[in-house]
């Protein structure tokens, strides 16, 4: 029996009003690209000036151990901090993003399920992980997961970084879920009806008509969350995962923990993260602009 309420979609289901445009671009309300917008708004020349400023700031602190010494120390550590530290941050972010995206897509589509109970569960899970502090999620995963699991008699250890990936993928999943839900619901319900009257089933409609229409619009917010995730990977240092920040601290310790080291060493981390995330943010905003124009 046909029921007009399209589960999870009918939120704005006024159908034959002439004012209905093909899309409801602001269906998501708040500025979901805030971080990227902010990051991308930094003009490139500021970045250049800041880089110049960095040694100067370090110089201001020096008494007997000079800036030069600190930078020489940094120079020695750069390969280690970069290729064993930062590369690992990227690895964690890529893994967490992959898992988070897949799980988030499923969770997002569950928001438009025909079954009410599935919609409610999806809503609850999304809200739970979207609104929990990331660090709390990380610690819960750290403590809740065993150090090793037994599969068919073989013991497989679960290293800390795997837990970190799982912990970080949870909030990503929830936020991707929101992106998918928002995108699907921004397609007017008239599209569902048109498809229905052409004998498309719900699943066919979703995959062949609704998702292709809103796929592009999901890319900028998705990239935005990737940048956020990458910037959040240093949280893993608190779990003892060997990544950039953790190694930076270790390196400074090896150099005698001098206060002069702080600015060059953490400054270098900042440069790395910025260098990685800044282009992503610029690209996100460029894509956002392009898709907003075209549609």
């Amino acid at each position: 029996m046909a029921n007009r309420a399209i589960p999870g979609v009918a939120a704005h289901a006024t159908t034959d009003l002439p004012v209905m445009l093909p899309f409801n671009p602001k269906a998501g309300a708040h500025d979901e690209l805030l971080v990227s917008r902010w990051l991308a708004s930094v003009p490139p020349r500021y970045v250049f000036f800041l880089l110049l400023l960095w040694p100067v700031a370090a110089f201001a602190q020096g008494v007997d151990y000079t800036t030069a010494d600190a930078f020489v120390a940094l120079w020695r550590w750069i390969p280690f901090l970069t290729f064993q530290g930062f590369v690992f941050n990227i690895l964690i972010s890529v893994c967490a993003m992959t898992i988070g995206t897949l799980a988030g897509a499923v969770l997002g589509l569950a928001h438009v399920s025909r079954l009410r109970i599935i919609r409610q569960v999806a809503w609850f899970v999304t809200q739970l992980f979207r609104n929990s502090p990331w660090l709390v999620l990380l610690f819960i995963v750290l403590l809740a997961f065993p150090f090793q699991i037994e599969v068919f008699g073989t013991t497989i250890p679960i290293p800390g970084w795997v837990k970190a990936v799982i912990g970080l993928s949870l909030p990503i999943m929830a936020n991707i879920s929101e992106i998918v839900r928002g995108a699907v619901q921004s397609v007017p319900s008239a599209q569902w009806e048109a498809a229905e009257s052409l004998a498309f089933t719900r699943t066919q409609t979703l995959w062949q008509i609704i998702l292709p229409q809103c796929f592009k619009r999901m890319i900028p917010p998705w990239m935005n969350w990737y940048a956020i995730l990458t910037m959040a990977t240093p949280l893993c240092s608190l779990l003892g995962v060997g990544e950039n920040i953790n190694f930076t601290r270790q390196a400074m310790e090896a150099e005698g923990n001098r206060p002069e080291l702080l600015v060059p060493f953490f400054g270098y981390s900042l440069v790395l993260f910025f260098a990685y995330c800044y282009p992503i943010a610029r690209a996100t905003m460029a894509l956002e602009k392009r898709f907003a124009l075209k549609l």
Binding site: M1, A2, N3, R4, D16, P18, M20, P22, A190, Q191, E193, A194, A195, E196, S197, L198, A199, F200, T201, Q204, Q208, I209, P212, Q213, L295
Partner: protein, 249 residues
Amino acid sequence: MSTWTEDQPIVSIKNVRKAFGTLEVLKGVSMDIMKGEVVCIIGPSGSGKSTLIRCVNALNDIQGGSITVEGQEVHTENLDKLALRKKVGMVFQQYNLFPHKTALENIMMAPVKVLREDKADVKERARELLKKVRLYDKEDSYPGELSGGQQQRVAIARSLAMRPDVMLFDEVTAALDPETVKEVLVTIKDLAADGMTCILVTHEMGFARELADHIYFTDRGVIVEHGPPDTFFDNAKDPRTKEFLDQIL
């Protein structure tokens, strides 16, 4: 399995009641439509015209009465939706074309994806349909690149690609500017001339008078008056009909 024959109504609406929550929109509506007939439903805004025709292809459910299409009950638990929607095509006021597909793809999509017909055959048919709605040169245009009237004609072709026996039109010219209204009406006229059974909700009185075999006037969820166009327009009996016609003509 259907025992329907062409001397029986192709669409039979019997005492249909429909409510949205506590709002009663249809309060016992009946009409019989024979194959090849063109029926116009007119009436003031909010009188339930859209709701009624949406019940015919099960976009809306009903609370009472019955609707049959070619003898098949529409509002039953074991409705074969695919079969119903193959038989009944629908065109909307807002065209509702798929914006990410070209005109030709819009037309081909349902036969290929839903009916799993051969793509080459469907393409040929889609081209013919575009020709029929006088848009053969627009097959590669996206809906966003077409005018309202052109979009609406593509929407009609899209519906026809399913080879329906009955077409429902819900104020399909209401969103168009006056010049383009005509091109869509001409398309519908062609269809009617080919013997398609058409149920139209419309405000185009001249068109209704010229084309319709039967006119129904609805108000507040009931059919107030109905009859062949000449009788209906010239000798309306009910005061509500008269008032409506006075306002609109």
